[in-house]
Amino acid sequence: MTTTLKKLASWLLVPLLLAVIGTLVTVYFVSNPTDGIVARQLQYPKVLAYLVRHVFLVILSSLLAILTAVPAGILLTRKGFRFLAPVIINIVNIGQTIPSIAILALFMSILGLGVRTAVFALWLYSLLPILRNTYTGIQGVNPGIIEAARGMGMPPQRVLWRIEFPLALRVIMAGIRTAVVINVGTATLSTFIGAGGLGDLIITGLSLSRITITLTGGILAALLAILADYFIGQVEIHLLAE
């Protein structure tokens, strides 16, 4: 009983700390506006709305990326598709070298402005780390272990889910973690295609030369990235628990 409480408390410590810092920063900047312009831009409901939109963009695009890249990565390790792996990984690799802002611009011209384009671009940008880690994670499983499983009469599907996937999970989770953390940063660019998020605060502050507005958006985005990293790290620890 007390140990579970303790566990919960220690688990919540980091998120709480991050939330407190975020709240303090926001409260400080909102209640101490340097002038009327800042006062108009920095209001609690507005800041909250930017934050919520940001989180929404990140979660939706990341979930979509996990749901597509993990199965795709697994598929690339299967017999009939293995020959495709180098080609696909290379294409996605090249995609990753294109600056994220260019991707946004590119798809804006195709899909127009708005949330849909932002989610699509973020999804595309998160694919690579997850796809690559899923592929290398499963490829990296000791072939002797797989052969032992096959040799004992485990059908291929079961070998995948009982042996290969659990053994690759650590690497796959690392890919997801990278993707989501990058995603939190990239999502600030959504402002350029009118999809909102904390980027709005950053850009508004910059264009109005009001540093506190930019700082509010920037600090909240940074805290969000740390929180995401921590959270996925915890999921990882639980999934891989002995």
């Binding site: 002797g144 004992m152 009469g153 485990m154």
Partner: protein
Amino acid sequence: MIKLEHVTKVYKKSEGPAVADLNLHIGKGEVCVLVGPSGCGKTTTMKMINRLIEPTSGTIFVDGQNIMDVNPIELRRNIGYVIQEIGLFPHMTIAENIATVPLEKKWPRDKIRARVDELLQLVGLDPNIYRQRKPRDLSGGQRQRVGVARAMAADPPVLLMDEPFGALDPINRGKLQNEFLRIQKKIQKTIVFVTHDIDEAIKMGTKIAIMRQGKLVQYDTPENILNAPASNFVINLIGGNRTIKQLNLIRVGEMMKEAPPVVELSAPTVKARELLAARGKDLLFAVEKDGRLAGYLSPQNAREEGQVADVMQEIPNSITPDATLNDALSEMLAFGKGFVCVVDEGGKPVGLVTLGTLMKAVGGNDNNS
């Protein structure tokens, strides 16, 4: 039980065949050891039996059935498979590892649990300690024991073992070999055993199949191979001293002499003197209260006054009846005495092997006993 007829395997992109026109009949309950230098096709031959590799031509029968007519998944579930150390699933407990095939066969949970415990006991691991451990918590020898237990989980009539003890140090390897032979005596499986170690082959095999470059060069009992090697290749493979190698074929239990009289540790040495005189022996075993061997006494030791415990000499190591005479010889050399004590699994003395025993076994003069 297993029949290979004109089996050939040519790998893609390789010049010669890995296995060439191989014919092999393995009887029920036999241990057939495939032996030969690295790359001669042992593993390939073995993997064709459970269809991990499909032969290019030829036919294989297991229990009278052409294996190409059997679903490979079904086939493999009825053939135990042990490979070198790497084969255990690192993310599963020992119990889960052993339960692999029973789980695939959808046995009820209770039956699986009971079977896991039974097997752990069979291979000499306490279920209460090891059930929930992970493979990385085990020593090499223990992992190999688990590997064997896992292969036997669903009681398959056939076992395939690819260098199962290859990664172990010589002492542990010897121990596991002996244990495995003891188990095999009980379970009487048909076994295909791959090794590149001719001594292991001589020790483990009812029949030895010597391979060279994908071909079978001699297939016979260890005795016949030692006595009548078919070619220079076989002679070279056997190497060393063939007489000494024959010691590998004989179990201590078959040749050992009766154990000397025993005396308890707490007894006075006068009792030891009486025993020595009465039986006309020159050796006594000192035992604990529960009968376990503790040491030995020579007549000189017994001459001193006091308790047996004070004057006896320690025995650093003893062997079990299922060890080979070759093991006995090694122990004697290590121990530096002309004898080695034989104890049962509980550590109680059951016999004695002397140099004379060894001489008799290899047909030399027996003037030592």
